[in-house]
């Protein structure tokens, strides 16, 4: 470890760098000011010869910390891959020559920009080390799957097939969960390819639910241990070393260790007692889709009879979207996604038994997506199920009949139909635990009143499922409507609790086929998580990063900012209220580092110093030079690529700005802002990702945390007697190729207007 640091710099003069800039001057800056004992130039550093030049120095033991001054750190990543040494990169191509107009008039300031980037990269590299994992990791291949429904059983079986043992925890006496009452399932497949006779033959039919088969696979699998009537009463630890207390009905509790966790607790049927307008609860002949499925299962192919009088059902109405897609109190605002095909299937039960039975589906939009969905819709039409575009408003029970009042949307008139039975297509309510942020809200509420309100909100929350022994609450954070999720478009499995992956209807409403497919993906992520934990590597999106938060305990004031702000709930507190970082729960965003007021948290390759020393290395000309200095801290995920691509498209930026990429705006330490102001910077621009409900921050809350912290910067500026305009925080998207440079140029104009900072030395 503690081998001597050998610093070396490499300057590329290709891609026009050599023509646009004075390379001798760059070399001199790197040597004299950057204090790099060895600085070499090459006309094409990324080519085989250039790479060899660097590799030879590394192999000869002459370079352990290297500074590469060439293109952006986003370019030529594969060429400049030297995993055994620490590396910083000065962005002379995109960051300087492509961002600046050519010509003598601009030469001086453009060269100064490049000189500064050399100084900055030389300063940064001195404070970096090659990350090494803590060495405390072990490979624990066992998965915990919570939920004994079809989703959970699928997760268990698929993990076992890949060679990973599983403990499957089911809170009921039998496996199957909400799916165990299925008489048949909506077919998993579309119509087969090469069947003679055209498109309308052999359309998919309701099929065996496959429950018994799956249970058999689970029970027969030597890699799967099933716990019935069991609950998780405590979960602690981190990926690779989770520990869970599994309590069974008998009162016995066993503690098992796991590498990762899949939560597959499915859904709870919607409580139809909130639908009195449909006579639910006043007559047994109005059933929910879930209740009707049980009835069909009991009938098992025999005549389906009315619960009230045992009469054969000769007409049935299915009311779609019952208590769903509605803003009424007690209704679900979302579409549950599975009910259209479910109703078609249930209508076909009647048709299979008695083609004369009148089965009508009242719908507004019939939602049967994909190939299998649309084929099944056609199958229902072929079975002569009636599809009526209509909005049901009431069900009235009278004289043994049910009258369904509805607006026929095709004929545009209010009408009604009489039938024997009504099935309400009700929705799925996610079976998740309480939102941890609802729990934290109680702790964090500033006033007693707000505390009381937070407690009241929590009182109606569901009981915990995982009972996480985490500083930030007992369960997975919710995204919307009680579903757990985060980046649900690009990275749908990334929950905000590392190593714990949600599968099935806890993520979003879905049918059985989707839930079982979803279980496979979540299991994949869980396996990946425990494998990476064993290597000491971060989870998404920084897989391969071996750095983790190091912490100087002597300096810690136990202020708890890090444990509160971590977007992933990774940090616990010990008995003395010091933070415990749980490195394999950490996603390496650095939000804890940014939160820490006493600067005791750092990463091997990213720290208060690696950035702080860069901004201090910049040459700040005096007040009368007319050359202000603007510091830009740009999120490396969106804002920094936007600036790179802006340069690539020929957008110019002020030569007075110095851009430093940060892992996430959440990692920005306020000390950087105050240091910059104290060192005479005239303006500071912070660029992070969108942070509202539709957030784009890759670390979920990092950008929001930063914005909150930085909202107090105005006070600092006022104390220093500086104009508040000198610090600006912006949300910048990766597509802001015109706007991002414009923001920097506007800051330069602002400085021209309000004048230079008086803090120059």
């Amino acid at each position: 470890m503690a081998a001597e640091k050998k610093l070396a710099g490499y300057i590329c003069t290709g891609c026009g760098i050599g023509e646009r800039l004075d390379a001798k001057q760059l070399q001199a800056v790197a040597t004299r000011e950057g204090k790099l004992p060895s600085v070499k130039q090459h006309p094409m550093l990324c080519g085989a010869e250039g790479v060899k030049l660097i590799q030879d120095d590394i192999d000869a033991g002459n370079a352990t910390h290297i500074m590469i001054a060439a293109c952006s750190r986003r370019s030529k990543v594969e060429a400049f891959s030297f995993p055994t040494v620490a590396m910083s990169r000065a962005n002379l191509r995109e960051g300087v020559i492509w961002s600046r107009p050519a010509g003598d008039a601009h030469q001086e300031t453009t060269q100064e920009m490049a000189d500064d980037y050399i100084r900055m990269a030389a300063a940064e590299i001195k404070f970096m080390t090659v990350p090494e994992s803590s060495g405390e990791q072990e490979l624990n291949k066992t998965l915990l799957v919570v939920g004994g429904g079809m989703t959970g059983m699928t997760a268990a079986v698929e993990a076992a097939k890949a060679g990973y043992p599983v403990h499957l925890v089911c809170d009921e006496p039998v496996l199957g969960g909400v799916w165990k009452d299925l008489y048949k399932r909506v077919p998993f497949r579309a119509a087969a390819f090469d069947v003679p006779g055209g498109n309308d033959v052999d359309l998919p039919q309701p099929e065996d639910p496959g429950l018994d088969d799956l249970i058999e696979q689970v029970m027969a699998n030597g890699r799967i241990t099933v716990h019935l009537n069991a609950k998780i009463t405590k979960t602690s630890g981190a990926p690779g070393r989770f520990s869970a207390d599994i309590s069974v009905d008998s009162g016995r509790t066993l503690t098992e260790n796991f590498g990762a966790i899949v939560q597959a607790t499915d859904y709870k049927p919607y409580d139809a007692n909130q639908l009195p307008e449909f006579a639910y609860g006043t007559t047994p002949d109005v059933l929910t889709n879930f209740e009707f499925e049980r009835l069909a299962k009991q009938a098992n192919g025999a005549v389906i009879k009315r619960p009230s009088d045992g009469r054969e059902v000769k007409s049935v109405a299915f009311i779609q979207c019952a208590g769903q897609r509605s803003s009424n109190a007690g209704h679900l605002p979302y579409c549950s996604g599975f009910c259209c095909t479910e109703s078609i299937k249930q209508a076909m039960y009647f048709k299979a038994q008695n083609p004369g039975c009148d089965a009508t589906i009242l719908f507004d939009d019939l939602r049967t997506p994909g190939a299998a969905g649309e084929d099944f819709y056609r199958s229902g039409q072929q079975a002569m199920v009636t599809f009526t575009k209509g909005q049901a408003s009431a069900v009235v029970a009278a004289d043994g009949d049910l009258r369904v009042k509805f607006k026929d949307l095709i004929l545009n008139e209010d009408t009604e139909m009489v039938c024997d039975l009504v099935v309400l297509a009700t929705g799925q309510v996610p079976n998740t635990g309480p939102d941890p942020y609802a729990q934290l809200a109680v702790d964090e509420a500033p006033t007693e009143e707000e505390k009381a309100a937070a407690r009241a909100a929590l009182a109606v929350a569901p009981p915990s499922i995982l009972n996480l022994d985490y500083r930030q609450g007992t369960d997975l954070p919710h995204l919307k409507h009680g579903f757990v999720d985060s980046h649900f478009i690009c990275f749908p499995y990334e929950t905000r609790r590392t190593g714990i992956y949600a599968a099935g209807p806890v993520r979003r409403p879905m049918d059985l086929k989707q839930a079982m497919d979803d279980a496979v993906g979540a299991t994949m992520k869980a396996i990946q998580s425990l494998e990476n934990a064993a290597r000491g590597s971060a989870a998404h999106p920084r897989v391969g990063d071996l750095s983790y938060p190091r912490f100087r305990k002597e300096g810690c004031t136990q202020c708890k900012r890090c444990t509160v702000e971590c977007p992933f709930g990774a940090i616990n507190e010990d008995e003395q209220r010091y933070p415990q970082f749980n490195e394999s729960r950490c996603r390496r965003c650095g939000t804890c580092m940014g939160a820490c007021p006493v600067r005791v948290i750092s990463f091997d390759n990213y720290s208060v110093d690696t950035v702080g020393q860069q901004l201090k290395a910049v040459d700040v000309p005096d007040e009368f030079s007319e050359k202000p200095r603007i510091l830009c801290l740009a999120c490396e995920n969106d804002a920094y690529p936007a600036l790179d691509m802006a340069a690539q498209s020929g957008e110019h930026i002020t030569p007075f700005v110095r851009v430093i990429p940060v892992r996430c705006l959440g990692s920005v330490s306020l000390s950087w802002v105050t240091d910059a102001l104290n060192s005479g910077y005239d303006g500071i621009v912070l660029m992070g990702c969108r942070r509202d409900d539709d957030y784009q921050c890759h670390f979920v809350r990092g950008s929001a945390m930063a914005a909150e912290r930085l909202s107090k910067v105005g006070d600092t500026l006022t104390q220093l007697n500086l104009e508040t305009e000198r610090v600006a925080v912006h949300e910048v998207a990766i597509t802001d190729l015109k706007r991002a440079p414009a923001i920097l140029n506007e800051m330069a104009e602002t400085i021209t207007r309000i004048g230079m900072s008086p803090f120059k030395f």
């Binding site: 986003r74 119509a191 390819f193 939602r367 994909g370 056609r378 919307k480 579903f483 496979v520 998404h540």
Partner: protein, 427 residues
Amino acid sequence: MTAVVATNETILVVGGGISGMTAALEAAETGKRVVLVEKRPYLGGRVSQLYKYFPKLCFPTCGLEINQRRAKQNPNLTILTMAEVTGLAGDKGNYRATVKLSPRYVNANCTACGDCATAVTAQFDDEYNYGLGKRKGAYLPYRMAHPARYVLDPAIIGTPDAERAKAACRYDAIDLEMQEETIDFPCGAVIWATGWKPYDAAKIQPYGYDRFANVITSVEFERMADPTGPTGGKLVRPSDGKEAKQVAFIQCAGSRDRNHLLHCSRICCMASFKQCTYVIDAFGADARINVYYIDLRAIDRFEDFYQKVRANQNIKFIKSKPASITQDKDGSPVVHGVDTEGYQRFAEPHDLVVLAIGMEPAVDPASFPVPIVLNREGFIEAASANGGVFAAGGAADALDVNRAVQHATGAALRAIQVVNSVARAEV
């Protein structure tokens, strides 16, 4: 000769769009060796051609940047672009893949400086922009293309343009002698993620896509809305460049149709809602939008987005599968049909008609290298008869991006199950 290090514990991923990239990265980040084969010169597939995602209206390049960074940094992943799988011999756990590599005429020395593009003169239809714009004969397919390496159009080889490109390059990156080559290597499992293609709109004869300039497809409209696209983000009529303020979206164009695709393409309703916001953003109160539909399929949580769009007074929803489109004397497309809610006939002129075009699986049964189980719509069905070949994303069903990613993640596990059993990975 391109060399690929692989064994029968290697996973081959065919297709480098969002599904293939996801499957490849998830497997590689679990420690498996992966070879990713992509037909185009760059990764990202159709997702890279989208301006925004629904329902967040965020930018696909944001997630793509992360995925590209993951790809650049992962030592387990080998990426072959301009490559197509032409053969697959053997069985589950023990395949040998044959891959044809088309010449790029640009080697790894390329720094993406752009000098070759400046030097050449010939122009070609830009396939990245669905032919709505032109590109040079030496080009970077789009700004964020990965690999960030230029491509020479084969049509300029042997012309003075090729020599000009070569002369302009200071890094010896242009190799006009580059030849097509065929390589083969072992692999244990295959993830087939070739995605989808837009249904050929010209086949929907009554809509006149091939006759009327102002009838375009949803994928073309997406390029038009992109500020880096062929119109600089301006929503205009292709016929005369005038602002397209009155826009019709025709749902199920080619989908749910006995004459075309039988299936529901799933994404088109949400895509049209998203594109409605482009028109509203561009023209505010002056925007007039008609959405013609059979069913509005804003499944599950997407309902929120639908309700938000629905609340806009300038967007009308008409339950109708339009019968035909004609063109009036101003070149405005006129949509004819019957509003089935109340049975009213209509003939509505618009500045622009956008066909919410269906997704056709990009799976060719005739050239598929092994026997494969397809469904009637041409998507690959999961079946044990497929051996160690697993479909991911759009090759398996009409899926939106998040479902494609979800599906591809699962496909990675299926492949890992095979290679782990090859490795006899014991617990």
